[in-house]
């Protein structure tokens, strides 16, 4: 039987571990939410190792972007670090790639945002 309460109550420790993982490979992002630019945040971004070109001519004639999935890792309920502020529909740019959040998962101590990355 899983010890759910022990798992739930470890959120602080999980947040500390999540922040350590972010610090191993940090990226600063500035999220655009509609017309608003949020303050810079430090996250970890992991790109899928598979990519494709969006060749569907029905979806636009002038652009053929490369598309990848990515996961953005942030923290929740860390004792000293503010919660990562990220929502579905948020966009940000890293290098030549624009990422759009398509889903957000919250787990104890951590937030994971599934993104579509277009270059």
């Amino acid at each position: 039987m899983p010890e759910f309460e022990a798992w739930r109550d470890s959120e602080r420790a999980r947040a500390l571990e999540a922040w350590e993982r972010i610090r191993e490979q940090p990226t600063q992002i500035v999220i655009r939410r509609g017309d608003v630019m949020l303050d810079a945040q430090t996250v970890r971004i992991e790109l899928s190792d598979s990519a494709r070109e969006d060749l569907d001519l029905r979806r636009g004639l002038n652009v053929t972007p490369g598309v990848q999935r990515a996961v953005v890792f942030g923290v929740r309920h860390h004792p000293t670090i503010a919660d990562t502020n990220i929502e579905r529909g948020d966009r940000f740019v890293v290098g030549a790639t624009e990422l759009e959040v398509i889903s957000v998962i919250t787990v104890p101590g951590e937030v994971q945002a599934i993104c579509e990355a277009r270059t």
Partner: protein, 144 residues
Amino acid sequence: MAISESIRDVLAADATLTALLVGGIYSYAQTRRNGISRVTTPDAYEAGGFLRACAIIKASDAKSAASIRDSAAGLRQTVTVYLYDDGDNGYGAILAARDRAVALLDRVWIDGVGYLRRIGGADDERDPKLNNAALARVDFEIVG
């Protein structure tokens, strides 16, 4: 010079239009194989990486028709001005640019191209490949 390049040059020479299209005016060939991107057309993006208002000129269907220089074997060709802006910027800038482009090109003779007239277009479109960028287009017909 290609038709799209000649028309781009006419549009790019207008200060009012370039003030609206701060991301630039490009011929289709300039955007190369994969279209506008932060690699191919970096000026089309602001410092933060998001798309700015810009335009692409693209020549497309040509068909045989009576025309000014050759009534027996002339051509009419469609040229489209695609106007883009970031999806969260709305349509204000590109619709103003659309109106300016029409003012510059509709019922105008351009040397090396021919006589242009506006034949259609579309507002309130989006390009999913550019994260739903705001898109408007205006179509012109060239009679040479």
